[in-house]
């Protein structure tokens, strides 16, 4: 991935510093709020506390309560009022505290956020961002580790993205806030504290594009958010065994970048998609289905899905058994008939 200088109207570049993904998101919010006073931020605990993951740390002190504030504890209320604010031309960025706590807002998301532009023939647009700290692997008790992306990606009208690293986190959040369409911005909780040296502002690939994270010739691994690292680990391990793995970070879940993924798959002729969510009806199904539809005659083997099991997310002490690991990825690749 290349981090070039930005097109965003943000403060001048500074020397590279180690930034966590949480820090990069914080900086993106800060810079977006500074650049555009239509950007407002609210949700549960985003004010003095700075969010339970500290993504909004310090922003209320800097921008005041009229730009960032704690709302009543009601997710439908948060998303529903954000719709109204966006209708008035604001650019609200709201936070759902965890995937599972976005569910009370489901009707507002599906029946309004996703449909408003279409219902009104483009007259009424909703430039808003719904941030969702997502997925698991943080030892959270029940309802704190759901993966909700399949619900959003199955909903026409929503744009759904998930960064896997600090640079993308910054760049994609800025782009999401600048977007005239609503964006479901998913933040993998287990990556919040991952670090990278960054010079801000940073602009990475457009948020609707997948990116080849590592080149390879034998297999394409498709990951997003937390599973990009899993894919890279698998690629490292496979290299020792003489298997060359290409790793693609999908970044944009909806739309899907058929071009980048297709090019990779046509090169390697084998692909697997990795996600934390359960397999049945998960986002990987769409990936597998469309990659197969579009590249069937280039495929030497079925597109595999290396995912969580088809069960509710487990309790903290059992989650290690549920999560897809590099080992599981490699074991899955072994199930292919490699002699084909």
């Amino acid at each position: 991935m290349t981090a070039t200088t930005t097109e965003h109207e943000t403060p001048a570049a500074s020397a590279p510093t180690q930034l966590t993904m949480a820090g990069a998101l914080n900086a993106a919010l800060r810079d977006a709020m500074a650049a555009d006073d239509r950007v407002v931020v609210y949700g549960e605990d985003v004010g003095p506390l700075g969010g339970v993951f500290r993504v909004t740390d310090g922003l209320q002190a800097r921008f005041g309560e009229d730009r960032i504030w704690d709302s009543p504890l009601a997710e439908s209320g948060i998303v529903g009022t954000a719709i109204g604010m966006a209708m008035y031309g604001m650019r609200p960025v709201v936070e759902m505290q965890f995937d599972a706590f976005s569910y009370p807002a489901f009707e507002q998301m599906v029946s309004h956020v996703a449909k408003m532009r279409n219902r009104t023939k483009g007259r009424m647009t909703l430039p808003m961002v719904v941030r969702i700290p997502c997925a698991g692997a943080i030892g959270g008790v029940e309802h704190h580790s759901d993966s909700s992306e399949a619900y959003w990606t199955a909903t026409p009208g929503l744009t759904v993205v998930m960064p896997s690293n600090p640079a993308d986190a910054y760049s994609m959040l800025r782009e999401a806030i600048d977007s005239d369409d609503p964006v479901v911005f998913m933040e993998p909780k287990s990556r919040y504290w991952s670090k990278a040296p960054l010079t801000l502002p940073v602009t990475t690939a457009p948020m609707d594009r997948a990116v080849v994270e590592r080149e390879g010739t034998d297999v394409t691994l498709l990951g997003y958010g937390p599973t990009v690292r899993t894919a890279l680990e698998a690629a490292d391990a496979a290299e020792a065994e003489g298997l060359s793995i290409e790793v693609v970070d999908l970044r944009s879940l909806s739309p899907f970048d058929d071009e980048t993924v297709g090019a990779s798959v046509r090169k390697t002729s084998r692909a697997a998609v990795i996600h934390e969510a359960a397999q049945f009806g998960g986002y990987g199904a769409e990936v597998a289905a469309r990659v197969t539809e579009r590249n069937f005659h280039h495929l030497a083997a079925p597109v595999l899905r290396v995912t969580g099991f088809d069960i509710p997310y487990p309790s903290p002490k059992l989650e290690e058994h549920y999560l897809p690991t590099a080992d599981r990825v490699l074991a899955a690749l072994d199930t292919w008939e490699w002699d084909d």
Binding site: V40, E65, D66, W69, S71, P72, A74, S76, G77, V79, G80, T81, A82, I83, G84, M85, A86, M87, Y88, G89, M90, P92, P104, E107, Q108, S111, H112, K115, R117, N118, R119, T120, K121, G122, R123, M124, T125, P156, G157, T159, S179, D180, D181, P255, F256, D258, E259
Partner: protein, 394 residues
């Protein structure tokens, strides 16, 4: 954002705290400025509100007459199969027109499917209002031009939009009020609660009108609440609540007008219940004989909001025959126009289905669009027709 005094520093104070939250029980008897015989009501029963000026009442009358004529016309057209569905507001004109007349051009309105006549009163063309019920497109008017959100079906959801918009306006220091209508049934939804609560906590300039027409499709309001009035809910949010005779346009106008003024001057939201009755069926596909008696309907027909005001205006000598004729003409003109637009089939372009889903076209949608285009072209060829999108006409 202002912290209500009630809670200020609660940590450090004793449990005895001051507050500026409203905690007055709405009157159990609905506020009324004109009784059913068309006589002015004064004193306690009027809840401290004044009967509007005659000019205002005449204008409200005119609007109700036009609205009624429109509504009857649309119901007739629906029976002729010209509309996919139409939820009539027959009998609810005092609520619909009284409240919408209380906001200004710069204010916003968030209606439900039931509130077509309020949109008409707001100046939207019948053809644009009815595009959705005719089945052409989900919404047919320009939201921004009229400052009217699209008519919302998922119940109570639009109330939150109204609160958000009002809050945005307040943050921008624009003196704008957002008014939203809800049905009695819709008050049971979680979103109604969240809307009332966000509005009260944020003290947004929002006016909530609950049109208690006593039914949610077939379900009577007794199955929606155990409270004495729906306006009682206001107490739980620390906002003013008013229980109003929803067949008295004078009261509806006066109370909503006061709430709008309060909201505009920073006084926060108000919850108003208008007690009325839905004379027509829920929509054309409903069968009200299954859940209510003709006697009930007759009872409420005798409480007609238009006749009530008419009696008053006539007794005051304000409604002259020439004025009445003028109003009837205006109403007939609207009806005629409605007939015209609704009997002319709109040219629909199926390919437009793909145009408004996202700001930037997606590759997959363009592929799907191309496929449909090819299909339509082929259909046109087969049909021997010259028009490229023959599939659209039906």
């Amino acid at each position: 954002m202002r912290t209500p005094a009630r809670w200020r520093n609660i940590g450090r104070m004793s449990l005895d705290v001051e507050h500026d939250s409203v905690r007055t029980l709405p009157s159990e008897k609905p506020i009324r400025l004109l009784d059913n015989a068309g006589h002015a009501v004064r004193g306690a029963a009027a809840g401290g509100f004044e009967l509007p000026e005659l000019d205002t009442l005449l204008e409200l009358y005119r609007r109700m007459v036009v609205a009624r004529r429109f509504d009857v016309q649309v119901t007739a057209l629906t029976k002729q199969g010209r509309l996919a569905t139409y939820p009539s507001a027959y009998g609810q004109e005092a609520c619909e027109i009284g409240a919408i007349s209380a906001i200004e051009a710069q204010d916003w309105f968030f209606p439900t499917y039931r509130d077509s006549i309020a949109l008409l009163t707001r100046g939207i063309d019948p053809g644009d209002i009815l595009q959705s019920f005719r089945g052409d497109w989900h919404n047919g008017y320009d939201q921004h031009a009229h400052r009217c959100a699209s008519q919302t079906t998922p119940l109570a959801t639009q109330a939150l939009h109204a609160v958000g918009l009002a809050h945005a306006a307040r943050l921008r220091q624009d003196p704008i009020v957002a008014m939203t209508y809800l049905g009695d049934g819709a008050t049971s939804e979680g979103d109604a609660h969240e809307a009332f609560n966000f509005a009260a906590v944020w003290q947004t300039p929002t006016v909530f009108l609950v049109q208690n027409n006593q039914f949610a499709i077939s379900v009577p309001v007794s199955r929606q609440t155990h409270a004495v009035t729906l306006a009682d809910k206001a107490i739980g949010y620390g906002m003013p609540g008013f229980h109003v005779d929803g067949n008295d346009v004078a009261a509806m106008y006066a109370v909503t007008r006061a709430a709008v003024g309060r909201a505009r001057s920073g006084g926060g939201p108000t919850l108003i219940e208008g007690l009325t009755y839905r004379i027509e069926s829920h929509t054309n596909s409903d069968d009200p004989t299954r859940y209510r008696s003709a006697r009930d309907v007759e009872h409420w027909k005798r409480r007609d909001p238009i006749e009530r005001l008419e009696k008053y205006l006539v007794s005051e000598g304000a409604l002259t025959e020439s004025l009445r004729a003028e109003m009837t003409d205006a109403a007939e003109a609207v009806a005629a126009h409605t007939r015209d637009v609704m009997t002319t089939e709109a040219e629909l372009d199926p390919l437009e289905l793909f145009d408004h889903v996202y700001a930037r076209p997606r590759a997959t949608l363009l592929e799907q669009r191309a496929r449909l285009e090819a299909e339509l072209a082929e259909a046109a060829t087969h049909a021997g027709a010259a028009a490229p999108h023959a599939g659209a006409a039906r």
